[in-house]
Symmetry: C2
C-alpha cells in the first residue's frame, strides 16, 4: 500500500518538549512512585465555583455559534476588566479567541508573512516555535541570562539582529518560563525600538495578575505606538480555567483587528459556554485575586528559598507568573530530568521537571537549567525540593 | 504615527462571503421588517437537553486542560459511535479538534506544504478558502453543475488538473453548499484516483447523518487507501451544538495522526466542558436522530417543491445536509440578494439568502444561483418562499 508523504511543515513541527519525558513519568508511577509534577503550568487552584455556575445556570435551548469576534457582551465586559488595570480600550479593540494560543497564531498570521522574522528574547514559551512553523515565520532569538534574572537583553542585541524581514518583537510579560517581570523602563526601551523600526510589539500577558512585588505595566499602556502593539491574553491561569480555551487579542490598530476578524470568521466562533464563564469571571469579588496571589507568592518564596539552599543550585527570584528557572549542578539537565524519573526515588517519590533546553533555540544555552512551576501546595513543594536535593547528591556521586 | 503593514496573507484572507449582506439585513430589521434567515447553517433545532445536562451536572473543581488529542474516554466513545455506521477504527486514530474548522486546518497543514495544491469540486464551503490561505496552499477547483444536481465531476476533469504539486483532494459529503450526497460508486472512483496518484483524500463528513434517501458511504469505508484517507468531522450540526466547537480528525495513517497531534500540542487542548457534551451525545437514544432527520426531510421536501413551482426557479433535490442550491431568474444573484434586503418587503417580511458566488472560485460560475439553508420550520419556509416569489416578480418587472 502506497502512503502519501507528510508535509515538510508537519515534519518540522516540534512535538511538546516535555513529551519525551512523559513515558518515564508514567513508568515511575507504575512502579508505585509518587511523582511531584513541577513540570507543567496546570494550576492546582480551584476554578471559582461562581464562574462554573454561570455556565451551569445559563438558560438557553440551542448551543449556537457566537459572533466570530466573540459575544459583544463579553467583549464589553473585558473593557471593564482592563480599565481596572488602567488600560483604556474599546470593545471593538477586542477579539475573543480560542485560548491565548489562537490569539498568538492570529497575531503572527496577521502581522507576518511566511519568511518574515520575529524577535523573541530566549528562553521563551516552547509553543511559540509551533505557531511560528504554522505561520511559516522565523523566530530570531535574543539571549537573556539567569545571572541577571533574565532581564530584557540590551537593546543593542535587538538592533544587531533587525533586518528588512523583521516585522515584530514578541515578549511574554511576566515571562514563561523565567518568571521575569519586565519593568516600565524596559517596556519603554522596547517602545523606542518598535517606533524607530516601525515593528509590531506582540505582548503575551497571560500572567498579568501574577506579579508579586511591583505592579504590571502592560504594552497597551505604551503611548505613541498604539498601532504597533498587539496584546494577547487568556483566562487560563488567571481563573484556573485552562480547559476553557478562552483568550483574547487586543489592539487599537483597527486594520489589524479587521484582519484578525477575517481569520476568526474562517473558524466561525470561539466556544460559546466558556465565554459565559469568562464574562462571569470579570464580576468576581475584587479581593478574589488577592487570596490567589498571596498563595502563589508564599509558594514562590518557599521554592526559591529552598532551592538556593541546595548546594550548587541557583534560582533567581522571579517577579511574576508561577515559574522559576534554576541552574543545577549537572552538565546536562535533559539527562538529569530523565534519570530522576527513571533511576531514582526518595521515600518512594520523585520529581518531574522541565529541562530548559525546550525553551532555548541555541543548544549551547541553558544546558544546566530547569523550569519549575510552583503549582503545587507548599507541603508538596518542600517535599519535592528535598527529593531533588537527594537526587543531586546521588547523581553527582 | 507610523503604522506597520498588515501581512500579505492577512490582506488576501477572505472575509466571510455573507458578511457584506449583514448591514442590509440589519437595516431592514431596523425598519421593522422581519427577515427570514435562509442564509446560515445555524439550526433552529434544540440542543438535546441531556447533553447540556452532562456539562451542568459534571463534578469537577478545576477546569483543567484535557489531553491535546482530546480526552481518551471521549475518543473511545467515538469508536463506538463510528461502529454504528460500519466504520471500524481505533481510538488512537482519532484526534479531538476545536470544531471541524480546526480539523480541516490541521489536515491541510499536515498533508500539504505552502505552494502545494488541493483539488476541490466547486461550489464548495467558502471557509476552505480561508484555511487554504492560512496553510499557504492553492485550491484547484473542478466544476460541478446544478443541471445534474452537483454530482461528482467526471474523473477526467480531476486528471486534467493533477500536477506534481497536487497532494490532496477534498470533498464534503453530503455537500455544503449543494446538499449533494456522493454515492458509493463516486467514492470508489475517487479511491482509484487517489491510489493511482498517491494523494490524500480529505473527506469533510460534518453532515453524515443528514441523508434522506440513501445511506451515507464514508471515505473511511474505502479499502486499500487507509493511509490516504483523512476524515474530518464535527458535532455542530449533528446535535445542534454549533457553539461547542468540538470536532474530530480521523485517519488510520499513524504517521499522519502523530503529525496532527504535534499541531494539537501547540494549542494545548480542545475545550474541556464541550468534550463532556460530545461524549454524552454518543449515548443519546438510538431514535434521537430519526426525529431530527424526519423534520429536516419534510422541510427539504417542502422547500424544493415550493421553489420549483416559482416561475423561472430550478432547485435540484439535495440528498443530504440541510442546504439546497437554486437557480433564480436573475442575471446576478449578488445584486438580487442585496436588493431583496434593501429595497423590498412583502407583508413586512423579507428573505436573506446566500449568493452562490461565495462558493465558487471561478466568477463566471453560479452567477444566478443562491444557497438556501432549511434551518427554519415549515411555516417559515412557506412564508419565505412566498416572499421570494413576490420579490422575483417585482425585481424582474
Amino acid at each position: 500500500m502506497k502512503t502519501p508523504a507528510i508535509s515538510q511543515r508537519g515534519e518540522v513541527m516540534p512535538p511538546s518538549p516535555i513529551r519525551k519525558l512523559v513515558p518515564y513519568a508514567e513508568a515511575a508511577k507504575k512502579k508505585g512512585i509518587h511523582v511531584y509534577h513541577l513540570n507543567i503550568g496546570q494550576p492546582d487552584i480551584e476554578t471559582p465555583p461562581q464562574i462554573l455556575d454561570a455556565v451551569r445556570d445559563a438558560h438557553f435551548k440551542i448551543l449556537e455559534y457566537s459572533h466570530s469576534a466573540g459575544n459583544e457582551s463579553y467583549r464589553k465586559k473585558l473593557v471593564e476588566y482592563y480599565r481596572r488595570y488602567n488600560i483604556a480600550i474599546n470593545y471593538t479593540d477586542v477579539v475573543i479567541t480560542t485560548g491565548g494560543s489562537e490569539a498568538i497564531l492570529f497575531a503572527m498570521m496577521s502581522c507576518l508573512d511566511p519568511g518574515d522574522e520575529i524577535i523573541i528574547p530566549e528562553p521563551f514559551y516552547a509553543n511559540y516555535n509551533g505557531f511560528a512553523v504554522e505561520a511559516g515565520v522565523t523566530i530570531i532569538p535574543v539571549a537573556s541570562y539567569i545571572d541577571n534574572g533574565f532581564a530584557l537583553p540590551p537593546i543593542e542585541d535587538f538592533e544587531k539582529v533587525i533586518t528588512p524581514k523583521t516585522k515584530a518583537i514578541l515578549i511574554c510579560n511576566p515571562n514563561n518560563p523565567t518568571g521575569y517581570l519586565y519593568t516600565q523602563q524596559e517596556l519603554d526601551t522596547l517602545r523606542q525600538l518598535i517606533q524607530k523600526h516601525n515593528l509590531y510589539l506582540i505582548a503575551d500577558e497571560a500572567y498579568r495578575e501574577f506579579c508579586y512585588e511591583g505592579g504590571h505595566f502592560s504594552a497597551l499602556q505604551l503611548q505613541g505606538v498604539e498601532n504597533n502593539v498587539v496584546m494577547v491574553d487568556t483566562i487560563s491561569k488567571r481563573y484556573s480555567a485552562c480547559g476553557a480555551r478562552i483568550g483574547a487579542l487586543v489592539s487599537r490598530n483597527k486594520l489589524l483587528i479587521e484582519t484578525v476578524i477575517k481569520f476568526a470568521q474562517a473558524r466561525l466562533s470561539p466556544p460559546t459556554m466558556e465565554q459565559m464563564l469568562g464574562e462571569a469571571a470579570v464580576d468576581l469579588p475584587a479581593n478574589y485575586f488577592d487570596v490567589i496571589k498571596a498563595e502563589y507568592k508564599s509558594r514562590r518564596d518557599l521554592l526559591v528559598q529552598l532551592l538556593n539552599k541546595v548546594p550548587g543550585v541557583y534560582c533567581p527570584n522571579p517577579g511574576g507568573a508561577f515559574y522559576a528557572m534554576a541552574k543545577l549542578p549537572v552538565d546536562n539537565a535533559d539527562d538529569f530530568c530523565k534519570w530522576i524519573l527513571e533511576d531514582f526515588s526518595y521515600n518512594n517519590t520523585t520529581v518531574m521537571l522541565a529541562p530548559a533546553s525546550g525553551f532555548y533555540s541555541k543548544p549551547e544555552l541553558g544546558k544546566n537549567e530547569v523550569r519549575l512551576a510552583y503549582v503545587l501546595n507548599k507541603e508538596a513543594i518542600s517535599a519535592a525540593v528535598a527529593c531533588l536535593e537527594q537526587a543531586l547528591v546521588e547523581y553527582n556521586a
